[in-house]
């Protein structure tokens, strides 16, 4: 707020005098100006909400008017600027476009001029002062509203980024106990943290025992990326899960070997299908022993041969 005051030199005597000269007329003719602006912009439905919200209507604008008066008369600018920003943020969240604000205030600036001429036409110095004051008055309003639009926009982007990050790290349940996490796109530090957290929470929430992490969709796997994936797998292991890495192309495999990346015993399988079958095998082994006690290790409860993957019936 100090910046705004400094930018427009609101503490300078001449600026304050110009504003006072302008304000004297503005306050008096506000309603009339608003009506003529409305008349001009009536044709454009998009501008209706802004014209209706323009100073002169309702509680919000009355509050603004009172604060503006205090600002011009007493030099107490902070409450007025705060109110401008607050109202600006409201309109931004309502979805009113900033460009439309600009059009409305431009129209307002034009429509107030005849009134200024009528009031000060006989005195060139006073008229010049009023015109300068008008400039300052509307520049201030636009800056405050612009600032709040920017702030709201940044806040929205932040929320959207977070939501997008969540959407882009889905963890899917293939069957009870078996989760699949397809990793697609660039895996940078921020994303890998997010990825790992999503994975670990899914493990806990779905009570997974096997997790297949598929990196078919990861374009570049260097030692950094590989280490992050290994870390995620290590964390999953601490939660009692068997992690399986799939989707390693020949090229990626060669890169990992060349870089000497330590996969720390992470089970790796070329393609996703085989990875899921391996996951089934791991699960199958446990299902047998839970339900039937010690049994031949080649068969699981569904009659699928643990080694060949073929169904026996």
């Amino acid at each position: 707020m100090t910046d705004t005051k400094a930018n427009h030199r609101l503490d300078a005597q001449d600026v304050r005098r110009d504003l006072a000269t302008y304000w004297a007329v503005h306050d008096r003719v506000n309603d009339a100006v608003r009506d003529s602006v409305r008349a001009e912009l009536r044709g454009d439905p998009a501008l209706r909400p802004i014209v209706d919200a323009a100073p002169g209507d309702g509680q919000a604008s009355e509050r603004l008017r009172a604060l503006a008066a205090r600002a011009v008369e007493d030099g107490d600018w902070d409450p007025y600027l705060r109110e401008l920003r607050s109202q600006g943020a409201t309109y931004a969240r309502m979805g009113l476009a900033f460009a439309d604000w600009f059009r409305v205030t431009t129209a307002y600036r034009r429509h107030v001029v005849p009134h200024l001429i009528e009031a000060y036409g006989h005195d060139r110095e006073q008229l010049a002062a009023a015109m300068r004051g008008k400039g300052t008055f509307f520049d201030l309003a636009l800056q405050a509203i612009g600032d709040s639009y920017l702030a709201v926009r940044e806040d929205t982007i932040g929320k959207q980024s977070a939501a997008l990050a969540e959407l882009s790290t889905p963890v899917l349940q293939i069957r009870p106990g078996l989760l699949l996490m397809p990793i697609v796109g660039v895996v940078d530090t921020g994303r890998s943290r997010h990825l790992t957290e999503a994975l670990l929470h899914a493990i806990r929430d779905r009570r997974a025992r096997v997790v297949v992490m598929d990196i078919t969709g990861v374009p570049e796997v260097d030692s950094e990326v590989a280490n992050r994936i290994v870390q995620a797998a290590e964390a999953a292991r601490l939660m009692g899960v068997v992690p399986i890495l799939t989707g390693i192309s020949a090229g990626v495999a060669q890169t990992l070997v060349a870089l000497g990346v330590d996969l720390k015993g992470l089970r790796t399988i070329g393609d996703l299908q085989s990875g899921i079958r391996e996951g089934d095998r791991v699960l199958g082994v446990r299902v047998v022993w839970d339900r039937h006690g010690p049994m031949e290790e080649t068969a699981d409860a569904d009659g699928v041969d643990a080694f060949t993957g073929m169904v026996e019936r």
């Binding site: 932040g158 980024s161 977070a162 990050a165 921020g190 943290r193 997010h194 957290e197």
Partner: protein, 136 residues
């Protein structure tokens, strides 16, 4: 609101107190559960070092800001025997005492900023910071 929290660390139970204080501050700052846990774990490591190697010391927790972002700063200060070779101590697997590595390299991995100042027979000061991540 952002006054420092000071914890005197002289015995086992103080290690628990210090890390819980760290977790609370991190939570108040708005850090996610995983960041809170990282902060608490790093505090546990340095606090334990203090008890084991220096006998006693003090841990100060404060909120810091830099360039628009906010974070938590932990300063662990003791008047103990100091670390003769900080570089060596910061290497994984180093251990002088009874079975525990110094835990310093681990704490450094958990935090964003990490500084060790130590003079043999002149005490040790460890300053570490964790910043609030944006949009995560």
């Amino acid at each position: 609101m952002d006054a420092d929290t000071r914890v005197r660390v002289a015995e086992d139970v103080d290690v628990v107190v210090a890390r819980q204080a760290g977790r609370e501050l991190a939570q108040r700052l708005g850090m996610s559960a995983s960041l809170q846990t990282m902060v608490a774990t790093a505090i546990s490591e340095v606090a334990r070092n203090m008890v084991v190697y220096a006998g006693c010391g003090e841990i100060v927790l404060s909120v810091v800001s830099d360039d628009g972002r906010r974070g938590i700063e932990i300063t662990a200060r003791d008047d103990g025997p100091g670390i003769a070779d900080v570089d060596l101590a910061m290497r994984d697997g180093y251990s002088t005492g009874n079975s525990l590595g110094l835990g310093l390299p681990g704490a450094r991995r958990l935090m964003d900023d990490f500084l060790v100042e130590s003079v043999p027979q002149g005490g040790t000061t460890i300053t570490m910071r964790k910043w609030l991540a944006e949009w995560t």
